[in-house]
Point group: C2
Chain length 323, copies 2
DNA sequence: CTGAAAGCGCTTACAG
DNA sequence: CTGAAAGCGCTTACAG
């Protein structure tokens, strides 16, 4: 079947291409009757404007690039979903690229984005070398939002979970249950913010028995010691699952002997075998807000980084300490 | 900073825009020395060709549209990852749209794809009304690949898991362990192919004790009966988890008293609390193959639907029957 | 081996 | 209220 453009429609309607364009875009300069006639005709012909023509002219691609380190990254899909919704509302489309944390791929895809004239870029995680380029290479003056931490002294916009709150919520929940001896399990290095804030929160509540545990062996040792912690804050639901199994091997029951808090509200957390108390980031909202922030940047508004407060979901792995 | 195009580069290089274009595209008609000079200059200026200009001219968008029903659809992310890889290899980008199974959204996004001149479309799931449009509306003469079943009498190309094999692999595994009384749990309607093929496989092996169970209550009843099945084939890992918990409530141990097979190899299957024997679709490969098929279609090659054989992953929920 | 011209499909001033 | 012209950035014949 024939593909129609403004020209062929203009010919069929007996007007000029310019008039077709104006009519279709609802410009008041075109007489109501003419506009209606053209619109009906365009509809009948299944006319879909070629966005390349539009984009070339207007310099608006209606495209946002989304750079993903890995698609199965813990909560990627929900973030992506939120981003997609915000984009669709504004009649934008998402261009997705997966980079496997590799600098070369990130650079290539970023260049592809630029070639496609994306109006904004969302980056979930990045290779350090790529970040370095962002500092030095002014090519990237496209509105950009990061979904993971950026260097402290930078002025990049970030939209992410409020990791400090995560730490605080965990500690406060455990203290409210009456726990006095806590531990943070695994990867405290990966989550400086979360660990630091939980540490501060402990201090403020006069809890000084709070240790960071980095390996499974260490955890086993600690859990066997006389003054063992009665509650564990973990870095993620996956870690919570590991901790739970280690505890059970040692003969501790959860939550009677040991409370455990996860982070993420992953599928694992909801499975009946675990039923994890966990702290859920606002995944979809992170994606939605990131995209909205892009639109604000495009509109030239002053924007700030957003840190979305997570939610405590109490299930069956936390309770009043039994000892 | 200034944005450079063929024109400004031509001016700086002292040649015509056409020569720049030819040089950058490696056309032999331009002298080696000139080409080198232009390439170096373009590099210095961080020149990235505007793909709208290219696309408008060549009618090649280098874009593939991916219509997703839902982003957290069981194995979406890995499929998407595979698709992204194949696309990147060919220097194509993926345009992703999420439709929540709604016909209107599917139509809108499909139109957006057309406007963006996508050269191919991948559709994971679709609303029946959208499929109807595909039949009647010849607008969609863009190469299209479906990731879920299409009407039998249609000529649409499909790339998906081989569901018949899934059923057969499950039954053969259980028979090889010595099971003689089997059941299929939940949603046998949703998975006609899988259920039918497992049924046939049972018959061929002279197993006539094979029932389809549709509700949890029914399962409880069946598992308490004297000649209860010794193995359950499930529709998904999620169902396998449900079955496992129901079995344990009744006092059956898995796999000693009851073998269970899941399908998907989801995260849940790998968790130590479950350790499911499961049948894993080639998720990434499905995405990769779908995209490759699009390229074949673009190239005008004759292509067929692909049904990728899943893999049996034996973990701890299947064993020789204990009774 | 290189340049001048035309055109992809659209929109945006500018005339009338 | 409508049309003719120019141009977005590129590539592709066509001349020379």
């Amino acid at each position: 079947m024939v593909k129609h453009g403004v020209k062929s429609i203009a010919r069929l309607a007996g007007v000029s291409p310019a008039t077709v364009s104006l009519a279709l875009n609802g410009d008041p300069r075109v007489a109501d009757k003419t506009r209606e006639r053209i619109k009906i005709l365009a509809d009948e012909l299944n006319y879909i404007p070629n966005s390349f023509g539009q984009a070339l002219q207007s310099n608006k691609s209606n495209l946002i690039g989304f750079l993903l380190s890995e698609v199965n990254h813990s909560y990627f899909s929900e973030i992506f979903q939120g981003a997609g919704e915000a984009a669709a509302e504004h009649n934008y489309a998402l261009l997705a690229a997966i980079t496997h944390h590799r600098h070369q791929q990130e650079t290539d895809q970023l260049n592809a984005f630029m070639g496609k004239q994306v109006e904004g870029i969302i980056i979930d995680q990045y290779h350090p070398a790529t970040m370095y380029n962002f500092f030095t290479d002014k090519r990237h003056n496209v509105p950009t939002v990061f979904l993971s931490a950026v260097p402290d002294n930078s002025s990049f916009i970030v939209v992410k979970n409020d990791d400090r709150q995560t730490g605080i919520i965990a500690v406060e929940h455990l203290i409210s249950l009456g726990h006095k001896r806590l531990a943070f399990c695994f990867s405290s290095v990966l989550s400086q913010e979360r660990y630091q804030s939980s540490l501060e929160c402990c201090r403020q509540n006069n809890i000084d028995d709070y240790q960071a545990i980095t390996t499974a062996e260490e955890l086993q040792y600690v859990l066997r010691s006389p003054n063992r912690p009665t509650a564990i804050i973990t870095y993620s639901d996956n870690h919570a699952v590991q901790v739970m199994h280690i505890a059970m091997e040692i003969g501790l029951s959860v939550p009677e002997d040991l409370s455990i808090i996860g982070v993420d509200d992953s599928n694992a957390a909801r499975l009946p075998a675990y039923n994890l108390t966990t702290i859920a980031p606002q995944k979809q909202n992170i994606g939605y807000t990131a995209t909205s922030t892009i639109f604000d940047l495009i509109a030239g508004k002053a924007v700030q980084s957003t840190y979305l407060k997570p939610e405590l979901i109490i299930r069956n792995t936390t309770a009043v300490p039994g000892i």
